[in-house]
């Protein structure tokens, strides 16, 4: 350029087309336009899918409650005044228990009908009658008959039939009950501590025992749960600890202290169930101690042997100890008759684990089926309340979690599950006043959908790829591009304002 000849005279550069301020500003503006137009594209390609959740529906449902209006008819025979008294007493006891239950029984409302005659066809009504013909309180279907000598106890019996969880040391009972699941796997295991030690049980007629002792219950509970049954025999299952040795009279015993019971299951060595599905498993173990640990007894807190040979591990299952008598053969087979007592215990344990309450003390039943309608109704209501509470809690947690973590994706699957769960929940509220079983079914559906949404793997996708990463990658591109753009824009702006000032003066 130093050699540029001075002649012919040079053009003034500002007269050139591309040197005009207007053109330069257009170029600059178009750069900025491209960048601004590209921002939405960049935003949509790099942002995560976060569908809006039905937050308001979740919060309105949180305040709603199931309603189970129950009608109880009280019949005292000849004296209607007496019936009224009983009704008032029942209502009192029931309200007292309701308050003690910390809101778990709020769904249940009692309506007491005293004295009046009722239609025999009204099968939904609970009937309490006091009669002289019987000697024990008797409960069958949805009826309770109390002998007239026990009239004063009637309110207590009725109240505890409706509110079984509060009638005993309620906390510990609820702690035992397994979490609701539409399907359970029942795994029965005959566990020989050491079959080669001399005495062992090599087989059991478990199929027959299950069908005789448990099948009626499993059938009756069909509305609540489906069951898969499996069983096995194990011949070597060492304990992880050494049972205490103690002398009682002239007999040597091996004792399990209450502490030992908690660590009884040696899960490192024992394989107790198959793992083909994710259904919760309830284990039932018939444990045969080895000859060196026979007889094996359970000790109470004072280290005295108890008469019981079985114990429950909360939410896990039940264990029955079977100490073989010294005159038994080296390998024996347990027939259905020999298993009868064991399976009666298993049945009791199963009912406890599934949340079925016993009848109140002293009350008997003459029904052929193991559970009365009254007991089943109570269980349906209890599980429905649990499930709705559980699903409300889960839905609330999802909403809070998504709110807290701004990089958590929410896809169609999650939103669909939440909506399905809410639909089922609303349906459960709607039907609870006339059908506890439908309320249960819908509440179970709500719970399943809510937990599936909560554990949806898609929600974790971007948790391990933080936004800082993205900026680190973009900086080498954006910094060198942005600096000249901004600087030129500023300079152009100052030139323009200067020109305007000059034009004014």
């Amino acid at each position: 350029m130093s050699d540029t000849p001075v002649t012919p005279p040079v053009k003034d550069p500002s007269s050139l087309l591309f040197e005009q301020p207007r053109v330069r500003r257009t170029i600059l503006a178009s750069y900025w336009a491209v960048i601004i137009l590209a921002v939405p594209l960049w935003w949509s390609t790099t942002s995560i899918e976060r569908l809006s959740l039905p937050v308001s529906r979740v919060s309105t449902n949180e305040d709603k409650q199931l309603r189970f209006p129950l009608r109880v008819h009280i019949d005292v025979g000849q004296s209607p005044d007496n019936a009224h008294e009983v009704a008032v007493a029942v209502q009192e006891r029931f309200t007292a228990r309701k308050e003690r239950s910390l809101g778990k029984l709020d769904a249940v409302e009692l309506t007491l009908v005293a004295g009046e005659a009722v239609q025999p066809s009204d099968s939904d009504m609970y009937r309490v009658s006091i009669s002289d013909d019987i000697s024990h309180p008797l409960q069958y279907e949805r009826r309770l008959a109390v002998p007239s000598s026990l009239t004063s106890q009637t309110p207590d019996i009725v109240a505890s039939l409706f509110t079984p969880y509060t009638s005993r040391g309620s906390q510990s009972f609820e702690h035992i009950v397994s979490k609701y699941s539409p399907r359970y796997r029942l795994a029965f295991t005959l566990l020989n501590e050491d079959a080669a030690s001399g005495k062992s049980v090599v087989g059991w007629d478990v199929q027959e025992a299950v069908s005789r002792h448990l099948s009626p219950i499993l059938r009756q509970m069909g509305v609540l749960h489906n069951f898969t049954v499996e069983s096995q025999v194990r011949f070597y299952a060492p304990l992880a600890f050494q049972p205490d040795l103690l002398m009682v009279g002239d007999e040597t015993l091996h004792g399990l202290t209450q502490e030992d019971l908690k660590v009884f299951v040696n899960s490192a060595e024992w394989t107790l169930a198959s793992s083909v599905s994710n259904d919760p498993v309830l284990h039932f173990v018939l444990f045969v101690p080895s000859v060196s640990h026979t007889p094996l007894r359970i000790l109470d807190h004072e280290l005295k042997p108890t008469s019981s040979n079985a114990f429950i591990l909360p939410q896990w299952g039940g264990i029955v100890l079977l100490s073989l008598p010294s005159d038994s053969p080296s390998s024996s087979y347990l027939s259905e008759a020999a298993l009868s007592s064991t399976f009666n215990t298993f049945r009791g344990q199963l009912l406890k684990l599934l949340g079925v309450s016993d009848l109140p003390l002293g009350v008997e039943t003459n029904a052929t089926l193991p559970l009365t309608d009254w007991q089943l109704d109570t269980l349906y209501r209890q599980r429905a309340v649990e499930n709705t509470a559980g699903s409300k809690e889960t839905l609330g947690s999802i909403v809070r979690l998504v709110d807290q973590i701004s990089t958590m994706p929410v896809g169609h699957g999650v939103r669909g599950d939440i909506e399905d769960s809410l639909d089922a929940l609303e349906k459960a509220y709607a039907v609870s006043w006339n059908s506890p079983t439908q309320a249960l079914g819908n509440s179970a559906k709500a719970l399943t959908h809510a937990s599936r949404a909560f554990f949806s793997p898609g929600m974790l996708a971007l948790l391990y790829f933080p936004a800082e990463h993205k900026y680190a990658v973009y900086t080498p591109l954006f910094a060198p591009v942005a600096v000249p753009l901004v600087v030129t824009a500023l300079r152009e702006f100052s030139a323009w304002s200067k020109a305007r000032r000059n034009a004014r003066t």
Binding site: D12, E230, E492
Partner: protein
């Protein structure tokens, strides 16, 4: 106590023949084979028979299964087979290379290095066979603590000619087969394996399986074999094989062995539920006098048999060669114990091409026909047109290679499958060779230890007239082009810099302002050229 009394009555009435109540049978067997080279091949077989059962028909998978009650059969395994309606299944986990020449044929033919899984499954289920195949891998991976999940579609083939069903098939079934040669076998696989046995690790023959000795062996492997025998039932055989070297552990260099010296254990007592429990010992066929203690229960032409019964306690079998001061290894080249020997190699120095060579030597005076099977992941692609078959002196003899089927690989998806029949003339050496291309992998397809290379599954040879004598070659290691894994960041930085540079100069050019500067004569010397160009 009343209950106990009732119970003992019930016991007394039914204990007489407990076996009659149980439709299951458990047998265990240990075979010890002293090899001519001083080593000892041990093979444990624990077989459980589920009498009178059939595999679950796949069409029934949509409805709930009947309750499963097992006594001797492992529940965890039994439920898996039911859940996925498996008709036949074979899983082997082996470490080391089986030396056919000096050890002969193994009792269990599945000795390929690493993990090998093959199943025969019926069709017609609501879930497809491939979905169930994937689920089985995951289930067995969980059961045996092995990383079988790597057997994806890139490793799965269906070589029906090489792996026919060993049992009967109740319905039309399909084969799925995959190998993972890089899988290691260790204690974490043996522990869950032993838990499947009725008498694990403290009674019966299984008591001998001390992990620190089994995994110290020259070669060791585990096997799970499930098959259906028509009219009999479902049979499960769990096997452990090991080749041990008494000479190595002996101070005097002798080949004497006993159960205690081999396994650090003896058989303490019998397993109470085993229908039969045998230990078979095969002495080597040599003229040197040997002593076997204790006296065997029964002596056959070639073997001595011990029975582990209820009155057995601490059975310790020992074999000694009293006249032998020190064991001298026989000349390896004298004779081979196998009908033919195979050597497979991958040659070539570049990362893009190579040459696969298989050399077979017939050790017998008779002609041998064998099926040759390659299940090659797409990482190595065969150039089949370069396949040459040469005999002694480089003479081409293509007629020895016949009946070939070839399924070409699908890059990034499916492996190649090559099956052919090879004829080996008496005492001849045949050399097969072809060019291969090594694939270029995507960045994400490399494993975490990419520099290690890829293990290629062993080739399998199945003699046409004796299918049980399946032979595996050793696996190959192929070195594929491996990128520098910091590459993506370098690429991002590099392209960002380039774009910024281009953008900067273009932008500058578009928005630059040019002005004319008058250059006067007297200052011309002091004004620099660059000053004429001012922003």
């Amino acid at each position: 106590m009343q209950w106990l009394f009732l119970f003992s009555i019930a016991l007394a009435t039914c204990s007489a023949s407990w076996a009659a109540h149980i439709d299951e049978e458990y047998n265990e067997e240990l075979v010890l084979r002293a090899l001519p080279n001083g080593k000892l091949a041990a093979r444990f077989a624990f077989s459980t028979l589920l009498k009178g059962t059939t595999p679950r028909p796949p069409t029934k998978l949509s409805s709930d299964d009947a309750s499963q009650h097992y006594t001797l059969f492992p529940l965890a395994l039994g439920q898996l087979l039911r859940e996925y309606a498996v008709t036949e299944l074979h899983l082997t986990l082996n470490a080391g290379k089986w030396d056919y020449d000096s050890w002969g044929y193994p009792d269990e033919p599945g000795v390929g290095t690493g993990a090998e899984l093959w199943t025969w499954m019926g069709d017609g289920a609501p879930t497809s066979i491939d979905e169930r195949w994937k689920a089985i891998q995951n289930a067995f991976a969980g059961l045996f603590c092995a990383s079988l999940g790597g057997m994806d579609t890139q490793r799965t083939t269906s070589p029906t000619r090489a792996f026919p069903p060993t049992g009967a098939m109740p319905h039309n079934a399909r084969l799925r087969h995959a190998t993972l040669p890089a899988e290691n076998v260790c204690t974490e696989n043996l522990t869950p394996f032993l838990k499947l046995l009725p008498c694990p690790a403290h009674a019966g023959i299984a008591a001998l399986l001390a992990p620190h000795r089994v995994f110290d062996a020259d070669w060791h492997g585990l096997g799970v074999h499930v098959r259906w025998r028509a009219g009999v039932g479902v049979e499960l055989v769990l096997t452990v094989q090991a080749v041990m070297d008494p000479v190595r552990t002996s101070v005097e260099g002798k080949r004497d062995w006993s159960l205690r010296s081999l396994f650090d254990r003896t058989v303490p007592r019998a397993c109470p539920v085993a229908s039969s429990s045998h230990i078979k010992v095969f002495p080597p066929s040599s003229a040197v006098a040997l002593a076997l203690t204790p006296e065997p229960f029964w002596k056959g032409a070639a073997e001595a048999v011990y029975e582990v019964s209820q009155d057995t306690s601490d059975l310790d079998i020992a074999m000694r060669w009293p006249e032998e001061a020190k064991f001298t290894h026989p000349d390896r080249n004298l004779s081979s114990l196998s009908d033919f020997s195979v050597r497979r190699t991958l040659q070539g120095t570049t990362q893009t091409h190579g040459r696969l060579t298989v050399v077979l030597r017939n050790n017998r005076q008779t002609e041998i026909q064998t099926l040759y099977l390659e299940t090659m992941p797409w990482h190595v692609e065969f150039y089949l047109h370069t396949l040459t078959v040469t005999c002694l002196g480089g003479k081409p003899c293509d007629h020895l290679f016949s009946n070939m089927t070839y399924i070409p690989p699908v890059p990034h998806a499916k492996p190649a499958l090559l099956q052919a029949v090879l004829t080996l003339p008496p005492l001849a050496t045949v050399r097969l060779s072809m060019n291969v291309r090594k694939s270029f992998l995507r960045y994400t397809e490399h494993p975490p230890d990419a520099q290690r290379g890829w293990e290629l599954p062993p080739a399998v040879f199945i003699p046409v007239d004796s299918a049980a004598r399946r032979m595996y070659t050793s696996p190959l290691l192929v070195d594929l082009p491996t990128p520098d894994f910091s590459m993506p960041y370098n690429v991002i930085i590099m392209s960002c810099t380039l774009i910024a540079l281009l953008f900067g100069s273009l932008f500058n050019l578009f928005t630059r302002r040019f002005v004319v500067v008058k250059v006067y004569e007297d200052v011309a010397r002091t004004v620099d050229v660059d000053d004429t160009k001012r922003k």
